[in-house]
């Protein structure tokens, strides 16, 4: 056990719970009434890519990570090519 985790344990886990909740609810309240943003982005990004290459819907992974200052959206698409498979990863 290092010094940091020792102090965190002494401080208790309640402040962590409070901080996590405040961040989560700020995002959830902002999204209230809107369509699921991740789903919308996923569909529109795929539509653009599908115009130019064939995309297998089962080979698409979308990851969202929400943090304090920045949120990241990762779209990972496997594309069939004549010579084999290529992966296209988008992050924003």
């Amino acid at each position: 056990m290092n010094l940091l985790s020792f102090f965190q344990r002494r401080r208790g886990s309640a402040p962590i719970a409070r901080d996590r909740l405040q961040m989560l609810l700020a995002h959830e309240r902002a999204a209230l009434g809107q369509r699921d943003l991740v789903a919308v982005l996923r569909e529109e990004i795929l539509a653009v890519i599908a115009k130019h290459v064939r995309v297998d819907q089962d080979k698409v992974r979308v990851k969202m990570d929400r943090r304090n200052a920045i949120s990241t959206l990762e779209v990972d698409i496997e594309i069939e090519t004549g010579t084999g498979q290529t992966r296209l990863a988008l992050a924003g």
């Binding site: 309640a14 402040p15 409070r18 996590r20 909740l21 609810l25 959830e28």
Partner: protein, 271 residues
């Protein structure tokens, strides 16, 4: 002027039914006429917590469907005569609840009682939506724990958008009731503080109910804790919360159990 109150939370197991029974009984004990309605169709429990499980003949669905009159379905409490229960159906589907039917019943109950208390099921589906639909006041039951607070936030959003009052542009009165609170764990920083929960949810505090063995004991014997153990910590906390609902100003304290000394403990064990 009757008040329709919904006891809701989103999350299950936080103490909605216990709180409905305790607040309903406390208001009735103070002389107000109260009816408590169980909206948890298929998983009814308010009858059990009130000790009336063997007296249910007709239920909410029977009245909604016109198979029984309201007066036939109301069960009067044997201990507090101003308290009545309208049970949920245990066998029927919750789709049998219609907005029109529930609205009609609540309008009729408003004529007869001072308080109409709707015990919401967990979740945000039909039963929960109809339990809050006609409410004037909401009691949001929350445990000092992340998933409960998140679900309460969601429910507060629904109270402000999906109730009749909200749709008519009227104010929906909301109160926070923190249950299963452990002051010692809060002190040690192991449990969310009351002020943290209040700050996050930003609705006024109705009361803080301490975790207590008296709550389980009361449900074991089928008697609301305000009747079964009125001087216990949760009993007093619910009594105070009921007074605040009536608009009385009561200092906000978290009642604690009077710790039994060593000798009285030994004595009690021997007795």
């Amino acid at each position: 002027m009757a008040k329709v109150l919904v006891v809701t939370s989103g999350k299950g197991g936080v103490g909605k039914t216990t709180s409905t029974a305790a607040l309903g009984a406390a208001l009735a004990q103070s002389g107000q006429s109260v009816v408590v309605i169980d909206f948890d169709v298929g998983l009814r429990n308010l009858d059990l917590v009130l000790g009336a499980e063997r007296r249910v003949v007709y239920d909410l669905i029977n009245v909604v469907q016109g198979e029984a009159k309201l007066s036939q379905a109301l069960i009067r409490d044997k201990r507090v005569e101003t308290l009545s229960l309208l049970a949920a159906s245990q066998t029927r589907d919750k789709d049998a609840l219609t907005e029109e039917g529930v609205g009609r019943i609540i309008a009729e109950l408003r004529e007869k009682f001072d308080w109409v208390i709707c015990d919401s099921p967990a979740g945000i589906e039909r039963g929960a939506a109809l339990a809050m639909r006609f409410a004037d006041v909401a009691v949001v039951v929350t445990n000092p724990e992340v998933s409960s607070v998140r679900d309460s936030d969601r429910i507060i959003g629904l109270l402000d958008s999906k109730t009749l009052r909200a749709e008519n542009g009227e104010r929906m009165e909301k109160h926070l009731l923190i249950t299963r609170f452990d002051p010692a764990r809060e002190m040690r920083g192991e449990m969310l503080k009351t002020e943290d929960v209040l700050e996050i949810l930003s609705i006024p505090l109705l009361g803080v109910i301490p975790e207590s063995e008296e709550v389980l004991r009361a449900s074991n014997v089928g008697s609301p804790v305000t009747l079964n153990a009125p001087t216990s910590a949760p009993g007093r906390a619910y009594m105070d919360a009921a007074k605040r609902l009536k608009g009385e100003v009561v200092a906000m304290t978290v009642p604690t159990e009077r710790r039994a000394g060593l000798f009285s403990k030994i004595f009690r064990r021997a007795a």
